[in-house]
């Protein structure tokens, strides 16, 4: 495969990253998808839009968050110098809010009156409910019943913020089913409703738009690393559900040949156990079409989508954003995976050595660092995207550790 001059020019005008992406939606939604695309293009060209986002990210979200040198962890692993990008310190406790601020401002520009969203771990649901409260817009969150059961604190949080949480009972009752149900709502209420997708997936322009809104992560890392170490980082590590925190960290560095990028998928009980036991779409799936885009999917021979498994509700999705599929195929980003057990170990390690309880999603990325850092020289600068805090996960972790709360 020939190397492109830049890895940062995608997608093309039809929303393609290589063969991935596109706009695979019902005709009812198509005019609206085109309207979102146009509105986003106009907004991007308007300095006032950019200014408003900046202002809110600073005043409301609390950006920039630190790039923190994890000294004890670095000493313990005895290799690469490890930095944490502290997305968990954002208001609402995860990177999800970066995207929500951008999209709600777009929805307002479009004159939309009602916001819907899907959520898995509940982090995106909380972030969406938060910006809806802030901008006084009615908010409906679709969430699988299975996820409602394992993410109770976030469900209550959303309700406190004034959102309606609709339990989804189809399929395995997790993130994929929540997204189906959100799409069904959207076709039914096209005129006044904006669908605030929570990850860098879905029909064009969502993967591009969410990536742009999350790129603040990588942009800040670049500036902060320059200040701290006077140079670029050597490697970046992030977990991948739909891929928004990972692409947000990676994208600003894609054209820096010395920067290595590693994305960590959820291996659940182990990739070798088969596609019902993990949620690693790239490592263990193949290309198909779902939720508006062509991308790697967990599916059977007949093209039926499989219900993956992960200990983390935020990674439990059988697809991945299309830009990741492309970055995988061209070899720019390395895709690996971490099992539930490796993740639980990393989760506890982080709590004890750094005094930070990470989200289970982020702990997947940390598990890869635990494997990799000891083999690297001490001057290797490695950045973990600590995408969220783990308060929401303590109940399910306790359960896995056999502790009764």
């Amino acid at each position: 495969m020939t190397r492109p001059n830049t890895y940062r020019s995608g997608p093309d005008e039809r929303g393609h990253f290589g063969i991935y992406g596109g706009r695979f939606v019902a005709e009812t939604l198509m005019p609206l998808i085109l309207e979102v695309e146009k509105a986003y293009k106009d907004a991007k060209a308007d300095p006032a839009f950019e200014g408003e986002i900046r202002q809110q990210l600073k005043q409301y979200v609390g950006r920039p968050n630190p790039l923190y040198y994890a000294e004890r962890l670095t000493e313990m692993l005895g290799g690469a110098k490890i930095y944490f990008k502290r997305e968990e310190l954002n208001h609402t406790g995860a990177h999800k809010i970066n995207n929500c601020i951008g999209q709600i401002l777009l929805a307002r520009r479009m004159g939309k009156k009602r916001i819907i969203a899907e959520t898995g771990a509940g982090q995106h649901g909380v972030a969406t409910a938060t910006v809806c409260a802030l901008y006084n817009m009615p908010c409906v969150i679709y969430m699988g019943e299975t996820d409602i059961a394992r993410q109770q604190p976030n469900v209550f949080r959303m309700k406190l913020l004034g959102a309606e949480v609709v339990p989804v009972t189809s399929g395995a009752r997790t993130l994929k089913d929540a997204m189906n149900e959100a799409l069904r709502d959207w076709v039914t209420n096209v005129a006044d409703t904006y669908y605030l997708i929570g990850t860098a997936a879905g029909p064009h322009p969502y993967p591009m738009m969410v990536r742009d809104f999350q790129s603040v992560i990588g942009d800040e890392v670049r500036t902060q690393m320059q200040e701290l170490e006077g140079r670029l980082p050597d490697s970046l590590v992030a977990c991948v559900g739909g891929g928004s925190n990972a692409i947000g960290l990676f994208h600003p560095f894609l054209d820096e040949p010395t920067v290595q990028m590693i994305a960590v998928e959820a291996a659940g009980h182990g990739i070798e156990k088969g596609p019902l036991e993990h949620a690693a779409s790239i490592t263990g799936g193949r290309p198909g079409v779902l939720h508006g885009n062509r991308t790697y999917l967990l599916q059977d021979e007949d093209g039926q989508i499989l219900e993956g498994h992960s200990i983390s509700a935020g990674l439990d999705y059988p697809g991945v954003g299309p830009e990741h599929s492309w970055l995988h195929d061209i070899g720019r980003v390395e895709y690996v995976s971490a099992t539930d057990q490796e993740t639980l170990d990393a989760f506890q390690l982080c709590a004890r050595t750094e005094g930070i309880i990470p989200a289970l999603e982020s702990a997947h990325a940390l598990a890869e660092i635990v494997k990799r850092a000891p083999k690297l020289p001490k001057d290797h600068l490695m950045v973990l995207c600590l995408s969220g805090r783990g308060d929401k996960d303590i109940f399910s972790v306790a359960q896995h550790l056999g502790v009764k709360l």
Partner: protein, 278 residues
């Protein structure tokens, strides 16, 4: 397309000659099981179905309401695959050479099968057309263009959100007929206002010579008759699929009499459609 010599074009020409609208019935392939579905298919033409839409089951039917979602799951649990769906069509074709069959579903099962191989096998089995919900004109190169080349009609959905400016794009590569989705929404939920449907069909007719079928939300023979007054065909799906669901026992197995009950309902729908312009 005036040059179209396929079963769909022939059937609409015959309906026009008879001076009546057609009834298009939807069932999901393999629902509730392959054997019962075969019996349903075989019985549909005599019960008054002028065209048959056969759902290609998919795990994630994003544009469908609860009735068709459940039908898809029943079909998948019964082991239905794209291949077995084509087998059903092939079997039907041995017994009925004229009733058009249109496969309706989502792209991924076809993508997984391989587009060219699927089109060759579908054509060979006797499939006349495809309605693939998640392939708008923007993705025509994926399946629509190859289908037209393979001699399989690609029937597009036009919706209340398809405005005047967009309509030519939607109609461009459409063949067989145009399917007007009468509501913004999913299958089996709200029903459209009759006057609005009439106006929408008139609008479509100003842009195309193709027949216009109207579906989504038609549940009773009366509603089918109302649609038959303003369109070339009425499509009934969820209401028929719900009758199938009603005919299952607690274990989800077809009770005796299911096929007869469903076909009886289709006869009522057909009577409604046939009397509409009487």
């Amino acid at each position: 397309m005036s040059t179209d010599t396929g079963r769909i074009a022939k059937r609409f020409a015959a309906l026009k000659a008879e001076g009546r609208a057609g009834l298009v019935t939807f069932i999901t392939a393999g629902d509730p099981d392959l054997e019962t579905c075969r019996a349903l298919l075989d019985g549909l033409p005599a019960a008054g179905a002028d065209l048959i839409e056969l759902g290609l089951p998919f795990s994630d039917p994003m544009a469908d309401g609860p009735a068709i979602q459940a039908a898809s799951l029943r079909a998948l649990h019964a082991g239905t695959t794209a291949r077995k769906t084509l087998d059903l069509v092939r079997g039907f074709r041995e017994r009925d050479a004229d009733t058009p069959i249109i496969l309706m579903g989502y792209f991924n099962p076809i993508h997984a099968y391989g587009v060219d191989r699927f089109l060759a096998d579908a054509k060979g089995a006797g499939v006349d057309g495809l309605i693939i919900v998640d392939l708008p004109p923007e993705e025509d190169e994926e399946l629509c263009i190859p289908a037209l080349k393979a001699g399989v009609n690609f029937i597009r959905l036009a919706t209340p959100t398809t405005d005047e400016k967009r309509l030519p794009t939607v109609l461009q590569n459409t063949s067989g007929f145009v399917y007007y989705v009468s509501i913004a929404g999913i299958t089996g939920t709200a029903s459209a206002d009759n006057a609005a449907v009439g106006a929408a069909v008139d609008r479509l007719k100003r842009h195309t010579d193709l027949p216009v079928a109207v579906g989504f939300g038609i549940k009773t023979p009366e509603q089918a008759a109302n649609i038959a007054r303003v369109a070339d065909a009425a499509v009934v799906g969820s209401a028929i699929v719900t009758r199938i669901a009603d005919g299952l026992d607690a274990a989800g197995k077809a009770r005796p009499g299911l096929v007869e009950d469903v076909l009886g309902f289709v006869r009522d729908l057909a009577a409604g459609v046939r009397r509409a312009r009487g």
